[in-house]
């Protein structure tokens, strides 16, 4: 019944060529397909695994026969395809479903090709009944090859590892951000607390004096000894600053945080930090006679800060 040439080299399932592996299963080449329609379940599983579907099986048959995809001999191809499918179907109906659809398609194409073509139609580029199948085979083969290429491409974790050197987090000390508003809020919370406990009166305090008190103490600490009074002032900061600085110095003296000394009238005035020795080792008689100590207000030094 077949009027198309028989392709001897398309392998039938009964006589698969032994030279080339049909597939590799668990690394072992599958060189031979089962010899008759009785296929042991294991072998069948192997065969089903070998093909990704009807297109894959068709491509295999075509490539094996070394025929042009564009000129597929439909009759032998269909025949061989059906033999494979029959073998599969006898074992696994569910998996053969896709294959059966293709079988129907092949038979349909084959029958359409058997129909005599009208003369006039021959001149007009009649579409080959195989065209759609060819298009699908080519597209599938393209994707099949692309998958192989893609798999060969270096892949993270399989072919290389990302470098991720250790950053010792504990070394990375992060500090909280504090804004003026935070301080303001903290102060308000202190006041609230204070109001709950006592009826302290909050007095206006010249902040700049406080700031300069700190500046003076720091200045003296860095100097680590006596600093001449006039050197304590930076006149370039302007009169208000000098005044505040002076007030701060008086306040520090009052709080006995600094000592201001002058050996005798019109001699340079020296300023230094109050040190422990001041209290414990009184000055010698001579020193005491020469050094005029600017007295600090008594009894105020350890008064609690009013809130």
């Amino acid at each position: 019944m077949s009027d198309t040439p028989v392709l001897d080299d398309i392998p039938a399932p009964q006589a698969a060529p032994a030279q080339e592996a049909l597939a590799r299963i668990y690394g072992q080449p599958l060189e031979q397909l089962p010899l008759d329609l009785y296929i042991p379940p294991d072998a069948m599983a192997v065969m089903l695994d070998a093909f990704e579907g009807p297109l894959d099986l068709l491509l295999y048959l075509i490539r094996k026969a070394n025929v042009n995809v564009l000129d597929i001999p439909m009759a032998p191809l269909t025949l061989q395809y059906l033999e494979y499918v029959e073998a599969m179907r006898s074992q696994n109906m569910e998996l053969a479903a896709d294959y059966l659809v293709m079988a129907a398609m092949l038979i349909e194409i084959k029958s359409r090709m058997l129909l005599p073509r009208a003369k006039q139609a021959e001149e007009d580029e009649v579409e080959d009944p195989r065209a759609e199948l060819v298009r699908r085979l080519i597209e599938y083969e393209q994707m099949k090859l692309a998958a192989v290429r893609l798999n060969e491409h270096p892949q993270a974790e399989r072919d290389f590892v990302w470098v991720e050197t250790w950053v010792e987090k504990s070394q990375m000390q992060r500090f909280p951000d504090v804004s003026v508003a935070d301080l303001q809020q903290a102060w308000q919370s202190i006041l609230r607390q204070a109001q709950l406990h006592t009826s302290h009166k909050v007095q206006r305090e010249e902040l700049s004096v406080r700031e300069h008190m700190g500046l003076i103490l720091r200045q003296l600490k860095e100097a680590d000894g006596f600093v001449e009074f006039i050197h304590m002032f930076d006149v370039e900061l302007g009169a208000p600053s000098v005044v505040v600085h002076f007030l701060a110095m008086l306040e520090l003296a009052r709080e006995r945080l600094i000592r201001i000394t002058q050996a005798e009238a019109f001699m340079p005035i020296y300023v230094r930090l109050a040190i422990a020795d001041d209290a414990e080792t009184p000055l010698t008689e001579e020193e005491a006679g020469q050094i005029v100590e600017i007295p600090a207000e008594e009894g105020e030094g350890d008064a609690p800060v009013t809130v």
Binding site: D56, N68, Q142, L145, F160, V161, W162, V163, E164
Partner: protein, 185 residues
């Protein structure tokens, strides 16, 4: 915010430190954050090119990916590194690889499109495996009955394959040309 060093060599070392420690690729704009955006993108790019050059002969290489720059070990060391890490990445079946190829080259595609090309039903776990790897995701739904999901590859897919864009995918075999040629004959 730390200061921008005046010395380009020092800036380059900072970029290097950041890239070596990064847990994901760093883009030029992310790298610029370290200098409060005060460094021009062209300068960063130039320094990155220099860094890539400097590291080209070493054990790890600096590569430019879809989402930014990152250091990775050279492939030749993988056989040794594998001995250290018993956890192997998944080895994908042909079904998964073919599905991935179709999504990569034909995106966005529905499951139906993939099935048409492959000629077989695509098992749910095939797509799931790719989604779990973070290589494909649903980018929309086709406006046809059933509103099937449209799959596309992700930036992670490009990053993991060391690609900057889909145009860097291996070119498809030009099988179609054969078709045209023999049609003409």
């Amino acid at each position: 915010m730390p200061q921008l060093p005046s010395n380009p060599a020092e800036i380059k070392r900072i970029l290097e430190a950041a890239l070596l420690a990064a847990q994901q690729p760093l883009s030029v704009s992310e790298l610029r954050q370290m200098f409060d955006g005060e460094l021009a993108p062209e300068v960063v790019r130039k320094l990155l090119d220099e860094l890539r050059e400097e590291w080209s002969e070493r054990t790890v290489e600096l590569v430019q990916l879809a989402t930014g720059w990152r250091f990775r070990t050279r492939t030749e060391y993988m056989p040794y590194l594998e001995a250290l890490n018993p956890e192997k990445p998944p080895k994908y079946s042909r079904a998964v690889l073919e599905t991935l190829s179709i999504i990569a080259y034909r995106q966005p595609v529905t499951r139906g499109d993939i099935e048409d090309i492959r000629g077989v039903t695509v098992a749910t776990q095939v797509i799931k495996a790719l989604e779990e790897r973070g290589w494909v995701d649903v980018v929309g739904y086709r406006d046809t009955p059933g509103r099937p999901a449209l799959f596309a590859t992700t930036k992670k897919f490009l990053d993991d394959l060391g690609l900057r864009s889909l145009t860097e995918l291996p070119p498809l075999e030009q099988l179609n040309q054969t078709l045209e040629l023999s049609d003409a004959s």
